[in-house]
Symmetry: D2
């Protein structure tokens, strides 16, 4: 069988991570890579065996499947173009940085017969996939307490620029909105308070969420805190059971009325596996080959954008948003 | 100078803790103790050198200062009686288990010229007093994430009986409402979701709070989780700084943009000091002797009841409560 | 049946702990207490319902069983006197502070028909009893790494006075020598290096031990380190398994080739139970009533003294000590 | 100025790590790479821009400086050849897998005028360099407790083959022998016990060490334990101070008589920097350009082999080895 020719648009950090993972997948051939900064495309081409090309269009033409790994605010246009060209698309999160664009991507993905997967890698991280399994097979969650903080919006420097990220929540916090859907189902209502401290945008959020299944949760996300480990944590409360994550490093489950804990540590895994990049890329190739729906659909991507959009709206209006 | 004669109404766990602390204070003489269960009064009297008496009235009569350490729902009547008798009062939290009763206690305390202190011990715990100091002297908090869970409402058995506790939030979670006022100032608004799982009352809460100073916070408190350490935690976010507690065992402060943490551990302290009982009892005696206002006033006690009451109301009505 | 009359010689910290535990045991009556400091005896008598008496002899006379809870260097004489009087004896560790005295106590205990138990409480602490169970039933240990440090020899002040303690190793480190016998069996050989830094005695030890069953272990114990938690830790290595304690707060077992850990936390227990005092006192009373051998025998007490003595000798001579 | 041409002999894991680091150093050009497995050389050549060549000799000829990153037992011959050719050499640890070979390498390095650096990367890891700084500038250590365990000798599969590794201690534990010299100075004496459990070699060690400066230490290293974090830990005891590492993830220092800890976390660093690979490669290039002695000399490499050799001898003979 022929190898799947994969192209990459956007040769920054995350594009390089995917290229490295894909480079070890025998079913794949890295075909073409483009970046607005030519030197970056050239370097990624060199190390991956792909060809550096001069435009996104050339990538699309040379490929069976395209990774859209540009800055956030460029995802929509490229994702739509790839889907409309009938290519399989791996679109990094966020699929879009506003609701209208998200609708465009969703529509294009739905019109296409090819695979369209969104890069919510955390679903594949062993810590989170094990957590999901526990909540599906062992324990019914009734509430949750989630946080995702940052030490700064300075490194890398574009991370503090909303014209690049689409806004603080679109950059990393969107993973937690997707994660809550992944773990707890659809959100029914949201109330939020926000404030602005260090950066020229709302950079600190406290959020209250109600889910369709009656679970309720609190979420906080501040851009200006510190890198105190763990800066990303999901705590879930079930009947006589607490399950808690420490970033993607450990999952701790404590069951019963005494102090017994079971910890799953991923300390020994390489980052690409610990963070789920390896698994999501394999799943994408699997879907293409088996012609099965992707593990994270365009609708999932749309709904995470919808939750971020609702959170901004909840802060702005002071209203309870219902879905 | 004569020793202050102290009486104790309620010879259960917390009454015994106070008696032990007071028994080592040279300025104090344990005068009388009463409990509905005579055997308990007798036992505490024996170990503390006090006299077991047959009624609360006898305790009041024999004492300069009275500790009200009965079950929660009995605090109001006794606290009012002690205050009206002109005695100094140390009233355990909650001061009352509904707003109307809290007003009665507050009014009685305000009419009295004696000291009236409420037992919000956590303010005196080294972990929390050090946290307060940091937030006052070193760093301005902008948001917070607070949790206080339990493994069950079974041990001790009365803890699951709302006719004794006044309701789950009145029993332990009220400490966190007081703690937030202590650390962040007055609450301006509150929204909450709640549910009932294991116990015949609302036993699981997710709460969103806005403060007068613009700080916002999330709080969760479930009666049915586990004893996964830490089950009580306050995380505060400041400019390039995160400060977090692990129950009353440790305070961790991480400042700057790198991974540096400073931990204050109270592991070596005896529980009575670690939890602030020692310090609150000394502060009460100090206030009596120096004729100064108590460290935790009847108004503080009232406001913590007010917040608990508002939280129940917010869950019931679905409305945002403003103060 | 009549209650067992228990007397206490030595009303300091540990005597008081035992009195409190015994005071809640229905099978026991606290009969008499003596201390060289009369005020201490009086206070313990008051809180325990015992009678303060003027001499150890009076305690022995008034009691069926005697707790020897004086400073270390006084244990031998009193333990021998109690045993020779035919009384049951609970002798705090160390049974003696030199080998010759230990032999005297052992001989007296062996001549007596009464129960003679030594206060190696750690054997009863849930963390250590669970560890023992694992090593007996689940996993064969092949090596171990043990440490027991202190932050200072200042609090309490007598702890730095070898005329009271018998020497640094006799005070707390002896628990670890006993613990290693409890967990790993008899020691076959020992080599050690020591030095003196802050205190007028050898206060820092590095020890290499070989056991009869071929297990080997390292032990370190410094009097001048810090109270960095955990200052007491036993790590045991088995086939694809590491088991580690954090003081008497937690037992962590990691089995298999991946990062899975199971933690048993004793955080919720009261100190007297967490440290095994409750259990050892009950076991002592059980032995008296059932006329069964004690859980920690005079021979165990003798062997722990023997190991401490050998350790001092190993440091002094530079020789390998064999047993 | 011309770039330094660097060649790599051995294109396995560690050769690839160095190639990636060197590939980002502007002062360097990757010239040639060789591996007995041609495909590996080809792949590394592709991603690094170097040329794959057919023999070590061709690498030496094409390079100003050579990295010897073959299996352990091949280091000696290649390191000697490179040094004799007058090339700068970066020789991975262990420099040799027996004392005689180590002498050959040391002699060759001493005869050469070029730089000869040994790959004891841990000296450059921020956790260990910060620890060294503390011990040099702030606190005098008096004893230490060191461990380095493994979960297995199965992954990668050659790690359990002494004909490849030179023996268990030569593979990873040698880092700890070097680390102790780095932190505490020269070893004066060593006693050790060892045993064999799962693998066809001595795979479990308990070691007692005395240093020239009177410090004493214990070390344990088992090949058959588990991956319980941290499996590598150095604990150092100073006057009222304990300093402890958790692998290369964190350095905790606790000073004073209370429970205060300061933690330096390297959680945010990329592995190549966290483990010191980045820094050691830069230091090597610095030394070449500045014509200064390397940070880790051939003599350092020799002494670490000497300590491993002594440890095996100590186990075999049962004797105390002196230096």
């Amino acid at each position: 069988m022929n190898k799947i020719r994969i192209g990459i648009i956007g040769a920054g950090y995350i594009g390089t991570v995917h290229a490295q993972v894909l480079g070890r997948d025998e079913r794949v051939e890295l075909a073409a890579v483009h970046d607005l900064v030519e030197e970056r495309a050239r370097r990624l081409a060199l190390s991956s065996g792909a060809t550096a090309v001069r435009s996104p269009e050339e990538v699309i033409e040379a490929s069976d499947a395209v990774y859209v790994t540009t800055p956030n605010t460029k995802h929509t246009e490229l994702a739509v173009a790839c889907a409309e060209a009938g290519k399989h698309v791996f679109c990094e999160k966020p699929m879009a940085t506003n609701l209208e664009d998200a609708r465009l991507v969703l529509a294009a993905a739905e019109r296409s017969k090819a695979v369209f997967q969104v890069g919510h890698n955390r679903r594949f991280a062993p810590v989170y996939s094990a957590l999901r399994k526990m909540l599906t097979e062992e324990a019914v969650p009734h509430s949750a307490h989630v946080k995702m903080n940052r030490g700064e919006l300075i490194n890398p420097e574009w991370v503090g620029d909303p014209t690049v990220t689409g806004g603080f929540l679109y950059e990393t916090t969107i993973h937690m909105f997707d994660m809550m859907r992944f773990l707890f189902g659809e959100v029914a209502q949201m109330t939020a308070l926000g404030s602005s401290h260090e950066y020229p945008e709302t950079d600190d959020f406290s959020v209250l969420l109600g889910f369709e299944n009656e679970l309720h949760a609190t979420l906080c996300s501040s851009a200006d805190a510190s890198w105190l480990f763990p800066f990303e944590r999901v705590e879930v409360f079930c009947h006589h059971r607490t399950i808690s994550t420490r970033e993607m490093e450990a999952l701790v489950s404590s069951e019963g009325m005494e102090g017994k804990e079971v910890t799953l540590s991923t300390h020994q895994l390489a980052k690409e596996e610990k963070w789920g990049y390896l698994q999501e890329d394999r799943a994408f190739v699997d879907s293409i080959l088996a012609q099965t729906p992707p593990a994270v659909t365009a609708l999932d991507g749309y709904k995470s954008v919808q939750l971020v959009d609702a959170c901004y709206r909840a802060v702005r209006t002071g209203e309870r948003i219902t879905f």
